[in-house]
Symmetry: C2
Subunit: 208 residues, 2 copies
């Protein structure tokens, strides 16, 4: 049996995926969702209240995680416009045809929590799920993780700090905080170590 | 002979790499540099005037492009602190030990141009180089390209536009322009198409 290691997922890291579900009438739905790998057979998802994905997962108790890099699939599934042609069926589940890999997962724990963030109070559904079947469609699968991109973007800002001032400098500082937050949320230990080094170098500009 | 296709590089796309060179005394240097794939055997680089990389390439007429994802290598080479232990020698050239692949390249055209951007006027060295030897150290190599991450980040902002106002909204608009610029610079046709769809959806908030 394949586990999450076979699709390149590492414990503690968060990957950008597209989750497919179906409603009571068997109509497929797709949405871009971050999936945290908790263990080689367990994942955690944070879902916005009120979405089709939450409704469908609560009804079915299962869902499909698609690993892919097709930008159009991410855009159309966000806009709710993904054409039916993109879906295919695997037994009773729907997956995205051009994914590099997909896996089915069964919910083992689900709860709604009130969370307060920068946008106010909202309800988030937190769920833990057990990986059921992993299907690889490419020999080598690399799931999308944003950490290295955060590191590279942060390095761009760091090297430009000598050149900016005023509003631009404020913008860079804001963006650096945001990147640091993301890298620490989605990355592995090496990414966090790298980000710490960048933050240290960046702090030399604190008295600028 | 292997070409850039063998390391996953596609024509017209820009990849984040680490370029290694050596100076007259044989001391190795590493710097993170964007490499545009022009053809299966040709690349273009834009380099900051005054860097070790420019000086070394002008003297040697060749350099090494390392394809890797190690965040520490990106950070330390930016800060100019990359330990010698990270380098290894391939004939007369230096490469980064833990790269997934590397290739040597010979300069075929090089010129200094004055460019004006948001930071003022500066001199950039533009060079075209022919790929010499490609060495794969992993079976499957995927070079770093930022386009899909730009698309995903832009989608995050798009879905939050209903929730923000004032300074936050201004920040999102600024960031969307920046992402669009990056995706159009580094991405392939599908990334650009996706970004266009996002910009169209985003423009619905113009009169907000």
């Amino acid at each position: 049996m394949l586990d999450l290691g076979s699709v390149g997922m590492e414990r503690g890291m968060l990957y950008e995926t597209v989750v497919t579900t179906k409603n009571n009438d068997g109509v497929p739905n797709a949405a871009p969702i971050g999936v945290t790998c908790k263990d080689k057979n367990e994942i955690v998802l944070y879902l916005h209240q009120g979405s089709h994905t939450v409704k469908n997962i609560k009804a079915e108790g299962r869902f499909v995680v698609n690993i892919l890099k097709d930008p159009i699939v991410f855009v159309e599934s966000t806009l709710g416009n993904l054409s039916k042609d993109y879906f295919d069926q695997y037994w009773d589940d729907f997956y995205i045809k051009d994914s590099d890999a997909f896996f089915t997962a069964n919910v083992i724990h689900i709860r709604d929590v009130e969370r307060e963030d920068q946008f106010g109070v909202s309800t988030t559904t937190v769920l833990r799920a057990k990986v059921d079947q992993v299907i690889k469609k490419s020999e080598h699968v690399e799931p999308l993780n944003r950490a290295i991109y955060g590191v590279i973007e942060a390095l761009v800002y760091l090297t430009r700090m000598d050149m900016v001032s005023g509003d631009m400098e404020k913008l860079y500082r804001h963006r650096m905080n945001e990147i640091s937050r993301i890298v620490n949320k989605v990355g592995g230990s090496e990414h966090k170590k790298a980000m710490k080094k960048i933050s240290e170098a960046f702090s030399k500009y604190d008295d600028k």
